[in-house]
Assembly symmetry: C2
DNA sequence: GTCTATAGTATGATAGAC
DNA sequence: GTCTATCATACTATAGAC
């Protein structure tokens, strides 16, 4: 029985994640979360007894899992660096929906949001930086590049592109940044 | 009497701006705004009859004014491009408090925030892009650079650096981005 | 201009029937 | 597991005394 279709909780977390990305932590009210998940406020408390903070934490965990599948995993594959980066770029485009969806690193670092949340997304940020760093190091084994600085700059440009794409509505900004990643990380 | 010191409204807007930058639009409740401004909820409605949205709009206008003074004005000065950019970099460092304070372009583009707000900050974003673009064009009059793309990339890196600095607490990210601006804009 | 008081609504969260 | 009903609190906003 279990495993055949996604459980209510799983689908609920995915819907809640959309909510948080669109409206922010404070903006995603239980009413919105209830509508988005189709669960009813009380049912939400059945799946997430600790309330809103637990929903947000589950959303952050889902992001971590998806990022591992779509970005970090491909970056660590056995193929040549450029192939790995190509897969990661596709994953990033998918994860951020072509620049339309916000990043929790941005969203969950605003305000006095609950204690566990900023730490969780901070961890994801560092994991991505490390993965980019290793890729850049692999691609430049005897060159005098600075993989760490390049990796940080890659995340900086991705986060900035998402902000500016959201603010201006111009999705070419995000697309251009994706296409710049090989250059930023010195992977060719 | 009036004019000697800043009016209550002016100081209130400055305090409210701090609130919005720290907690976001939804997170900055009237209680927080009342505490921060020292005005009392009712007094806030005396200065801003339309309520919270008017306060946020006034904050956005203050940002526009400060940005003109600290960044856009210096960029348009008569000095050589590198001197102008140096002043703008100092202005950016001051405006963003060394990376500690968020950008309204980010904050006010989250959620279903009131109608006038996203448009207002979008305007500021385009104004900065244009100013950077002209500076880069001035500095590369017969070179084959792309001033528009460079200007967009400068804002992208600034916004991204602010996000990542806020999320990680590492202010060197913002400082490094400031020091990269001459390179990004091909101004030397 | 600032205050107290308060309206009316939305919030996060709980209890208990089914 | 989902429902209705409800709690206490916080929210934005208004009215009116001073």
């Amino acid at each position: 029985m279990r495993g055949k279709v996604k459980s209510s909780r799983e689908t609920a977390v995915a819907a809640a994640l959309e909510c948080f990305r669109r409206f922010g932590y404070e903006g995603a009210s239980l009413n919105l979360l209830s509508e988005a998940t189709g669960l009813g406020r009380s049912s939400l408390y059945h799946y997430f007894p600790e309330g809103k903070e637990e929903i947000a934490l589950a959303a952050a965990e889902l992001v971590e899992q998806r990022f591992n599948e779509l970005v970090i995993g491909p970056l660590q594959g056995p193929e040549p660096p450029m192939v790995r980066l190509g897969k990661a770029i596709s994953g990033l485009d998918q994860f951020y929906n072509g620049g339309r969806d916000a990043c929790l690193i941005d969203i969950f670092s605003i305000g006095d949001t609950a204690t566990a949340l900023p730490g969780r997304v901070k961890g994801i940020a560092f994991a991505v930086i490390e993965a980019f760093e290793k890729l850049s190091a692999d691609a430049n084994k005897r060159a005098a590049t600075n993989p760490r600085a390049s990796a940080v700059r890659a995340i900086v440009e991705l986060e900035g592109a998402l902000v500016l794409t959201r603010a201006t509505g111009d999705r070419t900004i995000f697309a251009d940044t994706l296409s710049r990643l090989p250059y930023i990380l010195s992977v060719s």
